[in-house]
Symmetry: C2
């Protein structure tokens, strides 16, 4: 079979320079919109507009939908109103809404001007749903059937209206606009033509409400392996569907958000490069400031043990190792628990099981680290067995404490309704730094009577 | 509309105790297999077997597929051979393979014994694909069409064989087993009945090969918004499809793996509770050991500046704050870059753009932290302006260094083919601890001439 003949950026530039638009157009026809966007990304603004103008209408709408907002804004500024109108006509309403939400006001005005009255009404309805709700990501083009229809009627309807729908894989049965069942296209094709829809429809429909959180809707699609989930409004009327490809993007964005928070960065919706330097700085400063100030507490405590360190200067050299190990142990536990909570594998009621597991893991890991470290100290510090033992006891205590705090804090956060991801490495490490210093100096001052 | 009438665990237990199997059976019929598994999870072994026996054949197969391996093993041990045979008959071959791969040898033997010859051959073929390859997760039930068929022929074929296929949404066109095109079921329904498949098929098919990495296949499905991708073997013959629901699970597992590595935990395939204490300890010890030993280097360097600290004991108190801030800044940058690389937003060729951005962010963030910290020191340490200035300079230097190292290391790792996730918080923090101490003491010894 033929592999997709992708034009690469060099070929595109070359064809553009040669003004060989015919061949370029042919090449573009066999490319996937997503790949065209990748290629446009590497061309300059003028070349982009030229290439975009060569695209077939439907293709152009898909490419326009897949672009990032910067590229889109540039392009809008270089297109004429009638060109823009053609693109907007071909786009799905929900995609148009996504585009509008990202554009500055003057561009939005221009886009709405070239949109017909009917679409404008639909757009306004969609714009009213809260951000990150099922209503804001749903698709309003779907196939709805009535229960009195026969299978043949239903197939005829799909034939007539299906061409403009994003998905026809599942059709929804409504009665006075209320959702009463669903039929998979597989069932339509495999059932007898004269059978009634109400005989073959599945009444147990999983559905979402317009104001449900988009993340929960995406998780539902993932959990039950669906291709789409219907969305109903406050009056139980079917108003749209959320499809699996949108769900995948939502889950990816939510994971990126979680990972950002876990690294002590306030998440924002824009991409790395799409975020300005000041926004980046703002997103990162809050946590850094908080952690910096709380680290001064650790510093003050350290200052409090100045005398002990003056008596036994060697004690200073173990601080980075103990603080590092404590922080790492704690963040291992908290990360595993945070992820477990995110994918639904761990719940708050598992807290005792988790703590029991972590304590046992801590004893194994702590003993291992204590022994290795003990041997090193015994060899490097003139066979000082007492020092090796003191550090060994400290190590086991620090590891056990770190693992406990590391697993309990995310679970408690979840319980009180705070995002568990906040309890990841940065915060855990800072808390543990203080605890480690306290444990360490209490143990060594007791053992060495200082 | 009716919400799905879910039986909860209490109701199930009650119905079981009352031996009210009729009502229990009815309740189970309207439940989704995934929810039945959730409920079974909370029942005891004996109750589980009772409930499982009440399920309709197809439902039982789906429930069996969705269980975790421990529950499945328990159940297999309490079912008779003929019961097991019924379940196995209803399962998709690729799901059977997934089940077999997780079971101990004696259970596998028993399962294969109740499987018919034909299915056994298919199972053996699938078992030969390498772990984590497209071949190992693909589905071998799909609809294949020939290009000479008319649309009416194609629909007839779906009607006849479609009922046993996991998805009929996209059909594949083959010639001598080789993949030559694809037809969406939407196109079949909206095209004229007498049209030939070759007229309406799309020849630009995105496909995967059996030995492609499952992660890349899942990313392809995500990137292009597909419901399935066909898989071809070394001779370009179509052998299976990977569906979007499997892709979602693959991406979720890969993200969990990334997050584990980013927390310094060697990833494994099992769940948190499914992993034994010793395995957990093993997964975490390697990194802890490595980081502990490298932290001793930081300790030694700290020991080297003992005299400076003896002259100015106050210097000790700033160490946790500087090390903490350096580590946090570095892990912020590395995490954002690692995630950007994972979702394909950042590539190695962007290295200069990234470094330039991070340096500017570092200057803004560093100055802010330096000023706040400077004011605190000025107030708390008898208006010692020189000390405040020295710490300010150190702070800006540490933040800039941390952001640079934090963004460069993951990019370099990607370049040389190492998983960038390794360059996350634990390693970055340990490297930065050493660098921070060196920068700090070089600056303060120069300023205070000690």
């Amino acid at each position: 079979m033929d592999k997709i003949r992708k034009l690469d950026v060099e070929e595109m530039s070359e064809l553009l320079e040669q003004h060989n638009f015919k061949q370029l157009k042919e090449g573009l026809e066999s490319m996937h919109p997503v790949d065209i966007v990748d290629a446009l990304d590497e061309l300059d603004k003028k070349q982009r507009t030229l290439v975009f103008r060569l695209l077939a209408k439907e293709e152009a709408a898909e490419v326009f939908t897949d672009m990032d907002s910067d590229m889109r804004e540039d392009l809008i500024n270089s297109l004429t109103d009638s060109e823009l109108e053609e693109v907007m006509d071909e786009m799905y309403v929900d995609d148009t809404v996504d585009v509008l939400e990202e554009m500055p006001a003057n561009v939005v005005d221009r886009l709405l001007m070239v949109t017909d009255e009917d679409t404008r009404k639909k757009i306004n309805a969609l714009l009213q749903y809260p951000e990150d709700s099922a209503g804001s990501i749903m698709n309003i083009e779907y196939i709805s059937l009535r229960k009195e229809m026969t299978v043949a009627d239903a197939i005829l309807k799909i034939r007539q209206v299906g061409i403009n729908k994003e998905t026809i894989y599942t059709c929804y049965v409504t009665e006075k606009k209320k959702l009463i069942g669903m039929v998979d296209v597989k069932d339509l094709l495999t059932a007898g033509e004269s059978r009634k829809i109400e005989e073959i429809m599945d009444e147990n429909v999983l559905f979402a409400r317009t104001d449900d959180d988009q993340e929960n809707v995406a998780k539902m699609i993932n959990k039950y392996g669906l291709v789409a989930v219907p969305v109903i409004d406050h009056e139980d009327c079917l108003v749209g569907i959320v499809t699996v490809d949108d769900a995948m993007l939502v889950l990816q964005d939510e994971t990126t958000e979680d990972i950002s928070i876990m690294a002590g960065v306030s998440p924002n919706e824009d991409s790395y490069f799409g975020t300005s330097v000041f926004q980046h700085a703002k997103n990162r400063s809050l946590w850094l400031m908080l952690l910096m100030l709380s680290a001064t507490v650790t510093g003050e405590i350290l200052g409090y043990y100045e005398e002990a360190m003056a008596v036994m200067p060697v004690l200073i050299t173990f601080i980075p190792m103990l603080m590092g190990t404590g922080g790492n142990c704690g963040s291992q536990s908290s990360t595993l628990v945070i992820r477990g909570l995110a994918v639904g594998e761990i719940e708050f009621r598992d807290i005792f099981r988790v703590v029991f597991k972590e304590i046992r893991v801590a004893l194994v890991v702590g003993t291992l680290l204590a022994v290795v470290n003990g041997i090193r100290i015994y060899i490097m510090y003139d066979q000082n067995l007492l020092l090796a033992a003191a550090l060994g006891i400290t190590m086991i205590s620090v590891v056990a404490m770190a693992k406990c705090i590391g697993c309990i804090l995310p679970l408690l956060a979840k319980k009180v309704g705070v995002d568990p991801a906040i309890m990841a490495a940065p915060l855990i490490t800072t808390i543990l730094d203080t605890c480690t210093i306290l444990v360490y100096f209490n143990i060594v001052t007791a053992i060495f009577h200082i």
